[in-house]
Symmetry: C2
Subunit: 451 residues, 2 copies
Amino acid sequence: MSDTVPSHPAPLRIALAGLGTVGAGVIRLIETNRELLARRAGREIEIVAVSARDRSKDRGVDISRYDWEDDMGAMANRDDVDVVVELVGGSDGPALTLARNAIANGKSFVTANKAMIAHHGLGLAQEAEGAGHALKFEAAVAGGIPIVKGLREGAAANAIERVYGILNGTSNYILSTMEDTGADFADVLGEAQAMGYAEADPTFDIDGIDAAHKLSILASIAFGTELDFANVSTDGVRRILAADIAQAASLGYVIRLLGMANVEEADDGTTRLFQRVHPYLVPKNHPLAHVDGPTNAVVAEGNFSGMLLFQGAGAGDGPTASAVVADIIDIARYWDSEGEIDPPFSIPVAELDKTMPAETGNRSGKAYLRFLVADRPGVLAELAAAMRDAGVSIESLIQKGAEHTGGTDGSVLVSMVTHEGEEAAVEKALDMLSGSPSLTAPPLVMHILKQ
Amino acid sequence: MSDTVPSHPAPLRIALAGLGTVGAGVIRLIETNRELLARRAGREIEIVAVSARDRSKDRGVDISRYDWEDDMGAMANRDDVDVVVELVGGSDGPALTLARNAIANGKSFVTANKAMIAHHGLGLAQEAEGAGHALKFEAAVAGGIPIVKGLREGAAANAIERVYGILNGTSNYILSTMEDTGADFADVLGEAQAMGYAEADPTFDIDGIDAAHKLSILASIAFGTELDFANVSTDGVRRILAADIAQAASLGYVIRLLGMANVEEADDGTTRLFQRVHPYLVPKNHPLAHVDGPTNAVVAEGNFSGMLLFQGAGAGDGPTASAVVADIIDIARYWDSEGEIDPPFSIPVAELDKTMPAETGNRSGKAYLRFLVADRPGVLAELAAAMRDAGVSIESLIQKGAEHTGGTDGSVLVSMVTHEGEEAAVEKALDMLSGSPSLTAPPLVMHILKQ
């Protein structure tokens, strides 16, 4: 690829598969910032070919100057393409086929596809390492925030003690709006869907799956462990009531859906990977407590850096395009140095640690437990007895009348915050209460973020 | 430098000049995280030689295993050194000589020296570009926060509209402590000195000079302009009273010393660079309003990314060492690719824009004005008349009695917030009041951060 005139290196040639909002955003960015990109990348960045399902759809950008490919698979075979950019989505199917073929044909590959990286990232990275070309996915995690680079490079000198953060903008929008308005989950979700902050089928977002995809990618990079999406303990925000948010507020907390990961040594001496996406109670003086709306924010705690926080827009065409094109610029800068491309997960795939998932029972912390119970004598005593018998020590307890439960069945809401203790004890207490006719709904457990 | 066995590349060999707290921190980091660094960098990172004024001083690290150089200048000439790391400080003198000689002798050069980069960064970068080696200074800006990388690479796809932030931990510690305790500046400064958060001579920190060094570096990278430290409009936090903080709070603001930069087009069509380090009023719902203590935080607003926030420890041996070693890892990863090192300021020095400083008069915004005035009839009318005659529109005005002025001369404190308007009008009003016997101290102007 080296040009004979070093001061005018050849353009980096891009094929773009997928022209949804992000694809159109990438085109708009590359055209709008064309001169700037060339200055920063040291060469022109030139879109050569594009592909999508519908050629004639109006996307607000002029695609007539690029070659059109009806079959996006053909992108991988074009001799005039250096980098294939995949913005189609889906963990398998055409996106994965394109990735494999592009890498096999000596292209660099850039994607915003968190599901594909979470499921197939290691295999693709190994193929890219073998081919000596780049596989990059900054846009797959936390939208426009350069957190993949922040961990791979910015914090590279550190053993990372924890990585955690707000990884799903839709859930955060819903929670912070519930907080501001006192509205219930279903109402805010409906509003978010109307405003375009939530999909018609919001499952991936509000059930924590999207955040789990991202967390598994961050964990692999932060800890040098193999990707392990299957073992992310995942829960979402569906069951959170306005009353939970009010209770948390009265105790000095806000509720945020967090992804949280760390490595720890198990009793048998093996290294274990802890990965959890759950709603957490976040102390109001923590930076994440001030992250509102569809914003993302990631904290990495390094053994020398201390706490590093990266915050920005977690989605949207502009921010996601910003991350996609940052990857392209990185490739452009180092394009001539064949074989000197960093491993996609910072460490070569073959050298990543294989870890078992951590046992959670012996994790220590404080938790918020919320019960919906029948409004009759003895129920509180039953709850308190279960806590006592399981060894859960209660720091505070609030009981609220039926008007706070969001239901119509006359249930009473009882919430409590435990003292610091093992998670196993809480689990045991819940097991003891399981099936009790006093409970009108399954209990909700939220862990409290340790500072 | 290529090793014949690619899977076991040669170690990257470091010479370390300066063994103060940061130098000792770098040694501790490299020794503590040795194995991790090798995995991430793809090769061992090995300290070969060290130099400092006093060989025998106890630094809490064992330096006996490294070669000792009495003359740190000798570092630049050692054939067994790939990277010279300078942690001596000072804009000129031995640090600058070492930098020039190291680069001239084909070494990569890493420094935490913000004063030297602010004053001599362009010349050094040009020499490094010519030599085809790296000049890196992540630790020179905002301690452990990877903001140089964040701008050079993470946000590289964007035209940056503004870059601003909290760049001096000492000033931020003082302001946020005044906020929490209601104490006066002098008391908090004394306490900060006792706790090691402020130097015995705090001038560089509290008068904004340290922040101005950092801002000039950020501005050059963000906007592709030549470094222009000399034209940073700089003011510090010395004159801020507890009463100012209370007034700001009652209006919905906190006070933070911010560095702020943007480029703009002047009336004559030329590009101008605006750079200011001043105390600002920050709206309480802005992320920077929640940055307390000696923390730093930088916001970059990109035309596609939107707001990106980077936050972390702004100083300290661990965080600064984290940034220094991140630079070393970057060099290690690309060491074999001669000539493929990015320009230090992202764009080659010869291609950076030469800009005149911006005129500030036609900048539009809201401001906080505070006067200490004699407690006698007619003074308020005099102030109000000056505002009217200069065309300054007042949004709110508060007058407080003598107990709020921090002085003993019986002065009264009058503070006002203007409506959005040109800075020139405020300047004109102050000119009109200049020399008035009604004022017992020079007025204090603080701009209000626009969201």
